[in-house]
Symmetry: C2
Subunit: 112 residues, 2 copies
DNA sequence: AGATATAGTATCCAAAAAGATACTATTGGA
DNA sequence: TCCAATAGTATCTTTTTGGATACTATATCT
């Protein structure tokens, strides 16, 4: 059997999740609920405005988060997880769980 | 609450899985069992030897796959998934499942 | 009139990931 | 003696991703 990355579903799922700040943003919105742009910017230590906007836009494009613009001045924009975005929660949770075990395992194997 | 990517377990789990060919290699070894370097190279259409070696080494370093070298000439090397690597299967399976739903959903929303 | 607050853009630069391509060691067999 | 087979290395280039930093629009408040 011959295969290419483009035909791999896991590869595609990963490409949606990957991005330096995407998992964090998703987890954050999943647990904290609605947040404004500025709040996210404060919470995500070290993120640049360009990156924040970029990651939010990409998540929005996949339908995972919602962007609500209030027509005020100064502007107010609220981000929240969509119902659809919540379908990722079990996967993120199991990755979180696996990662913790993995780190534990690494420590155990570092007897040197 | 303030957060950084380095403190996010999901981020870390992803970084182990990410790499253009890693998910494919894992899935392949999970389903096909043991494979030689040359067999993998033939199966993974378009991969360069450098990339193949690189991805295999990184997976091996995490303990997910096994490298068995037979001291023959010409050399013979067999790769297989480890028992530990198999603990990732449920996660990969759910990502596969999610990705399929996601594509279906995208098609439905493309009525334009 | 000028400062303030918010949610971004725009531009340029650095680092990381991936691709192309050629090369190597070894030894059993023709 | 020279070639084939296998599992890689080595080197250079391109592409992708992320970082630094400065700038903008605009109604309101003083």
């Amino acid at each position: 059997m011959k295969i290419k990355p483009e035909y791999c579903n896991v590869h595609d799922a990963l490409s949606i999740l990957v991005g330096k700040w995407k998992p964090i943003i998703l987890l954050y919105l999943m647990s904290e609920g609605t947040m404004r742009y500025g709040e996210l910017k404060k919470a995500l230590v070290g993120i640049t405005p360009k990156m924040l906007t970029n990651q939010l836009r990409e998540l929005e494009e996949e339908g995972l988060i919602n962007r609500k613009l209030y027509p005020e001045v100064p502007p107010k924009v609220e981000y929240s997880i969509t119902e659809y975005g919540m379908t990722l929660k079990p996967i993120l949770d199991s990755m979180h769980e696996w990662s913790m075990q993995h780190k534990k395992r690494k420590l155990e194997n570092t007897i040197d």
